[in-house]
Amino acid sequence: MNKQVFRFISPDNIELYNIKRGKLIFKDRIKSKDCAKIKTDKVILTASHYVSASMLAESVKFVPEKGQFLFSDQSILRIEDLIHIPAIYDEVHNTWKQFWASSHLLLDIKTLIPSAKYFYPECLALTEHDTNKDNLSDAKFLNDAISFQPIKSRDKNKLFLFTLIAGIFLAIAPWISHWFDYNSKERLVFENKVLLIQYFEQLAVSSELSGLKKLTFNKSLKSIEIITHDLLNEIQKSEVEKFCKELSCKIKFDNNQININFQKRLSSE
C-alpha cells in the first residue's frame, strides 16, 4: 500500500506514481472511477485544493499550539468545514506558515479514492521537483511530510459501529492488560537519528578533508572514525583540533586515521 501515491488534479485527471527509493516515478493517468482498484493511502493535492498563508513570527508573539488556526481572518471557509495542519515555523524567513483546506472537499476526494487517508499539500511533500516536466517524475517524495487527515466520517452506521466496538472492547477487557504487557515487551522503538553526520559535514567543510578512504559513524560509541589516503597536513590538523575544542569532543590522531569522540557532547543522544 505504501509504494504508490496519487496526485489529484481533478476527478478526471489523477496521476498515479510509484515510489522508488524515495522518488516518484510516473505510472499512469487515470480517472476517478478507476481509483478504487488501486490501494494507496497517500494523495498529493495540487495547489488549487488547499490554501496557505504566512505571517511574521514577531507579529504572533507566541508559539502556536498544534490545533491553533492562525488565519481565520483570511479564510472564507466556514470554521466547521475547515481542516488545517499545525503552523510551521520557517527559520529562514522568520515566519509562521499554515496550510488549510475544505474538509468537505477532502471527503469528496476520499469518496473517489476510498483507501486515501493522508492528503499532502504538493509544495510540502515534494522536493527536487522539475517544474518544466508535465508530471512529477523524479521529484523526491517526503513520506513524513505533514498531511491533512480528515477524520470526519460520513458513515451513517457510525453509532452502530461505535456500539459494536465498545461491545467487543468490553468483552476482551479481562485480557487487555495481559496483551499490553506482552506487546510492550515485544515492540521496542529505537531513536536512530545520527547527529554525528551533521557534525562531520561541518568538520569536512572547515578542515577541507579530502581523499577519504573510510568513514564510520559509530552511534554506539558516539564517535566518528575517519581514514584518509594521505596524512593530514598541519593546517588540516589544526582545523580539526579547533573544531573539536569548540564542540568539547575528544580527538586521537594515528597516522592517516582520526577518531573523534562525542561522548561528552552527545551523552543524551
Binding site: 527509493r21 529505537f190 545520527v194 568513514l215 564510520t216 559509530n218 552511534k219 564517535s223 586515521q257 577518531n259
Partner: protein, 95 residues
Amino acid sequence: MFDSIEIDRESKFSQLPASQSDAELYFSNYFDYAASVSKFDQRIITLEFSALTNTDALYLLDKCQQLDTFRLHSVSVIPSSSEKMFDIFITYASS
C-alpha cells in the same frame, strides 16, 4: 580500530528475521535496494550496499536512521572500486 564494538552480549533482537535470507528480503524491501547481509546473529546484523551513486548513498544514509525496529549501531561509507561510487555498511545491534 581505536575502540571495540560495545554490544550487550546478553541482549538479543526482539524482532529478528528468522534467517539470513529473510533478513535480506526484509531489508531489501525496506531500503528499496538490494541488501546483502554480511553478518547475521542474535546480536548484530550488518548490511552491505555496493556501488551506490552519491544520491543513492545519501538516500540510504537517511533511510537507515528512520528504521526504529532495530538499534542503529554504526554506518560506514567507503569509496567503491568504481569511480564516483560508494559502498555503505550499516550495522544494527540488539538493544
